[in-house]
Structures are given as structure tokens and as C-alpha cells.
């Protein structure tokens, strides 16, 4: 019988050896294989940068890890032997889109999502907005934000429930270089708490200061898996 997933936020020394294990995963969309026999282990407290051209399968891999897509073949296990769907409260997923309501302010959006994590201690919306470099009292609806500001608010939403596994799909897109560097510094702090980050990007140089490992995908397969040279 499977044990119930722990709900504590602290990642202790007794944490499993692998934060996420992807074992022979393939994902088919009709006859198109977005992922082909991908097998990777992700250790806790590391930052993994996924690279690859458009259509290489980076976003699909993140969505499979997040439990938003079920693999056609193979299996994904998180935090020991849990399926992603069983540990959703421990995963933070940020997509290309902000995944927030245009008609609410940033704080209203975050307050709303914070209340949907029962039993999980969430950061204060104002505090997390300040962390991502936004004014929490800005009296504007999200629909009136610039793309970069939406991206930061989206990151704030993801950080809110202090997830142990952070999945970020193109977090630096639509961001100026300085803002992207601030985000990298914030992610470095996040990783120091022994939390795992898996991010996709086309801007390798921006992510390299926190990249412990660089995984390159090509046509749905793992083309290379190399150690990075993190400086943060």
C-alpha cells in the first residue's frame, strides 16, 4: 500500500535520493512522439537547465513532471515513489503563459491561489511580490501589466506555496537582462534551501550561474547531460 504524501515544506536529510525520476518516458500526441524513451534522475537541491531547439520536447517533459500530461509509456516518480498527481502541492509549475486572472490585481491573484493550498504554509502575497521585484500595492489589474511584470507575478504565484520542486518553462522570456539576472539570484536562494529547480530556456548564458546540470534534448531524446559550472 502506498504511503500518503508528506505535507511538510522542509526538505530534510531523510529526503529521498532523487527528487524526480523519469524512467523510459515517451509521450505521443497522435502519431507524433514529443518525448522518446527519456530517462533522467533529478537530485534534490540542484538546478537543471533544459536546452534544445523548438519542438525538442522541453515543455512536454516539464508538463509530464508536473502531472499535467500523463506519459504514453514509462513512468515518472517524485519524492520517492509518488506519482506527480499525488504530490501537486509540492510542485510549482510556471508556463509560458502567466496562468493568472487578467481581471484581478497581482495581490488578489496570489491571495486567491494561496487559499487553494489547504494545510500548506504559504508565503505572504505581499512578501513574495516584493521578492520578485514588484510593488504589492500597485492598483492595476494583471491585464494592464507588461509581459515582464506578468512573468514576475507568475513566478511569485509559483513560489507562494514554497514548493520543493520548481518547474519553470522559459522563465526569462519577455524579460530584460537585468530583471532576468534578479530572477536568477532569487532562484539561487531558492535552491540553497535544498529545493530542486528544472528550467527550460533558450538563453543559456542567463541560466548558467545556477546550472548544476545542463540537459539537452533533441527530437524528444536526451542528446547530452553535462555538469554545469554554477557561480551562485
Amino acid at each position: 500500500m502506498q504511503a500518503s504524501p508528506p505535507t511538510t515544506t522542509a526538505v530534510t536529510a531523510a529526503a529521498p535520493q532523487f527528487c524526480a525520476r523519469v524512467d523510459g518516458v515517451s509521450k505521443l500526441f497522435g502519431t507524433f512522439a514529443a518525448l522518446r524513451q527519456v530517462s533522467v534522475d533529478f537530485e534534490p537541491g540542484r538546478c537543471y537547465v533544459l536546452l534544445g531547439e523548438n519542438g525538442a520536447g522541453k515543455s512536454t517533459l516539464l508538463r509530464v513532471l508536473a502531472g499535467l500530461l500523463r506519459p504514453s509509456f514509462g513512468k515518472v516518480r517524485l519524492f520517492g515513489d509518488f506519482e506527480p498527481q499525488d504530490v501537486r502541492d509540492r510542485i510549482g509549475y510556471m508556463s509560458h503563459a502567466p496562468m493568472l486572472y487578467d481581471e484581478l490585481t497581482a495581490q488578489e491573484n496570489l491571495r486567491y491561489f494561496a487559499k487553494l493550498y489547504p494545510g500548506r504554509p504559504c508565503l505572504s502575497p505581499a512578501e513574495v511580490l516584493r521578492q520578485v521585484g514588484l510593488d504589492p500595492d500597485l492598483p492595476r489589474y494583471l491585464g494592464q501589466y507588461s509581459q515582464g511584470m506578468r512573468q514576475r507575478t507568475s513566478l511569485a504565484r509559483v513560489l507562494l506555496p514554497t514548493p520543493e520542486l520548481l518547474l519553470l518553462d522559459e522563465p526569462f522570456s519577455n524579460m530584460d537582462v537585468e530583471s532576468a539576472r534578479q530572477m536568477v539570484a532569487l532562484l539561487a536562494k531558492f535552491r540553497q534551501d535544498n529545493r530542486t529547480i528544472i528550467l527550460t530556456t533558450h538563453q543559456r548564458e542567463l541560466a548558467s550561474p545556477i546550472a548544476d546540470w545542463v540537459l539537452t534534448l533533441h527530437a524528444g531524446r536526451v542528446a547530452s547531460f553535462e555538469p554545469g559550472a554554477p557561480t551562485l
Partner: protein, 222 residues
Amino acid sequence: MTRALWTHLVKDLRIEWRSLDAIISMLFFSGLVVVLFSIAFDPHGEFAQQISGGVLCVATMFASVSALNQAWSREIRHQVMDAQRMVPSPAAELYLAKVIVNFLFVTIVQVILAPFFFIFYNLHVAGQAWLLALVLPLGTWALVGNGVFFAALSMSTRNRELLLSIILFPIFIPALLAMVQATGDIFTGDSDPMLWIKMLVGYDIIFTTVSLLLFDTALHAD
């Protein structure tokens, strides 16, 4: 009421209050149906009593569908639905909140429309008028409960608006029939509408329970 259900409700009401999209479009549409039918049939006397139940139900149904098509539009935009799929709170509460909010919107439209309806159709209720306060909410709940569920199911399809009507209308027919018959009986006072009201209650219980049980599966389908 659980905290998550209340949270979803407050969010949906706040968003609607800021735009009034659903209520305005429903009011316009149902008002148009009532006026057009009154011109087309020139309803007076007994004839008006007979057709008014059907007209009221049709106006409600088409107006509701225009709102139901937009029920999940804010979740589709910017992939908010993915964020909803990632939160650990029960999906059934998200569904229930959407149903309650849309039920409120349709009820508001019915309340605003009612005086005009009575004026245009020169109606005098021959039966027990208070039963309308039972029949209309029950029928509306049947429509909205199914509509929100099937709108969620058709969310990832290309022709979602067309698909919703194709799926929803046949399934809603038993409730529509009961609603039309019951309101007709109340307006004319010819027969007892209780059988139809019981049918509406049964329909609501069955379909709401099934939708609540299946919504999590529908939400997390690839």
C-alpha cells in the same frame, strides 16, 4: 461551505462584478427573445397562458448557453486552468462554485425579466404562483449544472461553443420538458405541476451528483 468553495465563489463574483459581461449579454439575449415572441404570436388570453411557459424556458435556455459558453473562458485564457489543475484543493469545489455563480447570474436575469414578461404576455397566473419560485430555480440549476460540466469537458476542443450546444441540449431535454410543463400548468391552472417538479428535483440530484463525482477526471484529462 468549505474555504476553497468560498474562495472560488468570491473570485468569480469579483471578476464578473468588474465586467458584468455575462449578465449583460444574457439580459440582452433573453429580452430579445421575449419581445420577438410577443410580436410573432400576438399573445393574449388563454393562448398566452399556454405558450408563455415555453417562451420563458427557451429565453432562459438560450441566454444561459451564451453565458455557459464563456463559463471557463477566463480559465482558458493564459492557461489559468493549468494552475487550477496544479492546486491540491478538490476540483469538485471549483465546479460547484462555477455552477453557483452561473446559477446566480441566470436567476438575476430571470428576476429582471419577469415583470417585462408578464407585461408583454398579459399574463395572469391561474395556478399557484409561488410554485414558480420552485420550478424556475430547479430548471435553471439543471441547465447550469450540466452546462458548466460540459463546457469544461469541451474546453480543449476547437469548436467548443458548437460542441456545448450539441451535447447539452439533448441531455437537458427531460429537464426542459418538466420545466415547460410545470410552468404551463402553473400559468393555466389546468393540472397539478407536482409530478413535473418531482422530476426536476430527481434530475437535479442525479446530474449534480454525477458531475461532482466526474469533474476531477474531466479536469485532469490530457
